[in-house]
């Protein structure tokens, strides 16, 4: 069964100028997919709109069997759609524990404290200083806290917008190792990423978005060939010939 099904989805900031122009895809339960494409292709807008952060201008989104089209972000979070924005994805003026406590409000009361402790076990870097302001964390640690916050509610589907953005190669490897563990625990992952190599190492399937449209969809094995990916990024659909 599909964990998330997106049909004819349009999104953007101006109803007359949609950035995402009728995209359809489905993600199976437990699958990890990468959403790739050149700058300005509409990748981030796509998952922001699914997450209720950008206006949905048409189409339909199903989470499992529920129609979640156009729902607001807090409703989506309550229904189990996790989202980690690219930047400003933690509250820097709150402590690490308070960041997790806010997210824990979506969990049944008796389990809140234990879920927070589980996140501290999963991300030991955060455990040593729970009362420190989140603003004091390094870039990689911030991504860890953002991931911990999203995972705390045990969402069936987790979407991440460029988790490697602005991180050093060492931290990128660390973040993707964490994502691999998260995926191994059964969470369905949708990953928007500019770091193609890292994304392909994690995902089993990829969507390539060009100019707001789906230019390619298939196993990531097909995309390890740099030339093929380059052609797709330049806007030539799979199978099309130059001319």
């Amino acid at each position: 069964m599909s964990a998330l099904t997106v049909t004819g989805f349009k999104a953007g900031y101006d109803p007359d100028l949609p950035i995402v122009k009728g995209v359809s895809f489905a993600v199976d339960t437990g699958e990890a997919i990468a959403v790739l494409g050149p700058n300005g292709a509409g990748k981030s807008t796509l998952i922001k709109a699914i997450a209720g952060q950008v206006a949905c201008l048409g189409g339909r989104v199903m989470l499992g069997g529920d129609d979640i089209t156009g729902l607001r972000s807090h409703d989506l979070a309550r229904r189990g759609l996790g989202f980690v924005p690219q930047t400003d994805n933690i509250f820097t003026g709150l402590t690490i524990r308070e960041n997790l406590q806010i997210a824990s409000e979506l969990v049944a009361k008796p389990q809140r404290a234990s879920r927070i402790e589980q996140m501290f076990e999963m991300f030991p870097d955060l455990k040593s200083r729970p009362s420190e302001l989140a603003g004091a964390l390094s870039g990689g640690q911030r991504q860890m806290l953002a991931a911990a916050r999203a995972l705390l509610t045990d969402p069936p589907v987790l979407m991440l917008d460029e988790p490697s953005a602005g991180l050093s190669p060492k931290l990128v490897a660390q973040v993707f190792e964490t994502l691999r563990r998260i995926h191994a625990s059964g969470v369905t992952l949708i990953l928007v990423e500019q770091n193609v190599r890292a994304a392909l190492s994690l995902a089993s399937r990829a969507l390539v978005l060009v100019d707001g449209e789906l230019a390619h969809e298939g196993p990531t094995d097909d995309l390890h060939d740099g030339d093929r990916l380059g052609r797709l990024f330049l806007g030539r659909r799979a199978g099309a010939t130059a001319g």
Partner: protein
């Protein structure tokens, strides 16, 4: 220098601080300078006065209308205060529903919402004048003699009560904001409303809570001001500049900051009256506001943008 200025400043600062807390909360969470806040103070005082007058008549009929020693007011006022708070809250929620909420939904710029609040402020004030007239009114006409409280200072029991009530409310509110899920959600929305939604926080609910707290404190501040001085339709408008000065001095979004800012403004006013002259009192808040904006725009406890 007469130490009486200290207690005078603390008394005035209590009202200013309490009003500034509501202002700083709405400013940090709703992201606009709410000019109607001063009028909520006045409406709170008038609404409480109305209920208090009604209850006072009933209690007098039952032989329980005498002042509650050592204070100047009877049972009517403390019983009416929760009702006044409740109606002030309904007024603010109603105004948010018909005006500010509509503008938010349409994605209006902050300046549009500020101008709307300015217009609503004038309308609310005129409505008060229309309903109650511009004649000053009083919660009580009992005379109180200021008593010695040590260190060469004097204060009436009513004045000491307002200081104690302010301290209690500030401590309670500080606990709510720092220790409860609602408070954490408020701080989260204040920092990043979009991210708060991603965390599962219902931003509209937080906005309602903010109005409720702001209106409740405004009503109490209005009643305190009315009890110690008098009730006039312009009482809130006249306090607006000190309220903004206190909120900005303390740092937008900081509850202790707004309270300390209020006390500093109150003390500065009292010392100005004593050292320079009463005619300069109104200028104090303006001078403080300009100095803070020039020297330290983030205020004493605010975070730099």
């Amino acid at each position: 220098m007469n130490p009486q200025a200290i207690i005078d400043g603390l008394i005035a600062g209590s009202t200013i601080g309490l009003g500034a807390i509501g202002l700083t909360l709405t400013y940090s969470i709703l992201r606009f300078a709410n000019f109607t806040h001063g009028d909520f103070l006045a409406w709170g005082a008038y609404l409480t006065l109305t209920v208090s007058g009604f209850l006072g008549g009933l209690l007098a009929g039952l032989g329980a209308g005498a002042p509650l020693a050592p204070f100047s007011f009877g049972w009517g006022l403390p019983v009416a205060l929760p009702a006044g708070v409740a109606v002030t809250i309904l007024l603010t929620l109603g105004l948010d529903r018909v005006l500010f909420g509509q503008l938010r939904q349409r994605g209006a710029d902050a300046i549009i919402i500020v101008m709307a609040s300015f217009g609503a402020s004038m309308a609310l004030r005129s409505l008060l004048e229309f309903i109650y007239s511009s004649e000053p009114q009083y919660f009580t006409r009992e005379l109180q003699i200021a008593q010695k409280i040590g260190l060469g200072m004097r204060a009436t029991p009513d004045q000491l009560l307002t200081i104690a009530m302010t301290a209690l409310l500030v401590v309670l509110l500080h606990i709510v904001v720092t220790r409860t899920p609602t408070g954490r959600a408020m701080r989260a929305v204040s920092e990043n409303p979009s991210l708060a939604g991603v965390y599962g926080v219902d931003v509209d609910h937080v906005i309602r809570v903010t109005w409720i707290i702001g209106a409740g404190l405004a009503c109490v501040a209005g009643v305190m001001s009315g009890l110690l001085v008098q009730i006039r339709p312009y009482m809130g408008f006249d306090l607006l500049l000190p309220l903004f000065a206190a909120a900005i001095l303390g740092g937008i979004g900081s509850i202790p900051g707004a309270m300390i800012g209020g006390l500093i403004i109150g003390l500065a006013e009292a010392f100005t009256v004593q050292l320079i002259g009463a005619e300069w009192r109104a200028a104090v808040a303006f001078v403080v506001l300009v100095l803070v904006l020039l020297v330290r725009p983030a205020g004493l406890f605010g975070r730099a943008a």
